[in-house]
Symmetry: C2
Subunit: 133 residues, 2 copies
Amino acid sequence: MTAPRRVIASAVDRLGRAFTIDDLVAEVRALAPSVGIATVYRAVAAMEAAHAVERVGTRDESALYVRCTADGHHHHLVCTGCGLVAHATCPLDDVPPLHGTEGFVVTAHELTLYGLCAGCATEVSPASELPRS
Amino acid sequence: MTAPRRVIASAVDRLGRAFTIDDLVAEVRALAPSVGIATVYRAVAAMEAAHAVERVGTRDESALYVRCTADGHHHHLVCTGCGLVAHATCPLDDVPPLHGTEGFVVTAHELTLYGLCAGCATEVSPASELPRS
DNA sequence: TTACATGCAAAGGATTTGCATCTAC
DNA sequence: GTAGATGCAAATCCTTTGCATGTAA
């Protein structure tokens, strides 16, 4: 575990919300200005392989990630106002089969929930956007 | 409605499965070799705006699309073996709240189901992969 | 006609990689 | 000492855009 990796990991923790590589680079460089972009990309790839972060889509042509604190099968609830992320249990666990499957055997699914967090829900402007993919 | 648009639309129909722009360009050029890549990108963007196709993720760094035949809110079931796509009703319609939301108001969700179609489920090798995002 | 579609090539932008150097263990 | 990490710059590759031309209505 090298110093840049430590800085990157703590930057992800400190962000506490969905982030792009650019977001993360900015956060990292606030503390360690010399860290290269390639290093951040490589660190995020490693964290993704280790299930420490998960890609939840795309924002402005860039990959969007969230820190994955929960173990096992779960999903993410992303606030479209501020990017805050919460974990949610899988609502499909209780849903038996699936309609319209036409002989399909479902082996996996991807689910991301979007909404407004308690803070953003009470604000005036419903905020702009966040993801796309 | 120009000739290239017509060719592209029918190519999407003929594919009948999840496709990348490259897949579509190949299919289009089998019939109309002179069609430019930019035209395909523009046509797909128009079809996406018209809800005729939907982006369901990424495969090999390229956007992955499916043709959207159903109206209204629905999801897609993508065969990881052959890319065949089926439509599925939303299994979350029946699921009331959500656990672990911590004050979140859910306004939208993205769900894509993966599995094996009837044909691929009976084959020997479970096939490789398909999406990523 | 008149606005929109097309094709080509160039541009843009995120992400990856080569390589020499450095660092953790 | 050695494998892996780093940083820089160059390279990749998907996607978009400028522009002159073509085409549908």
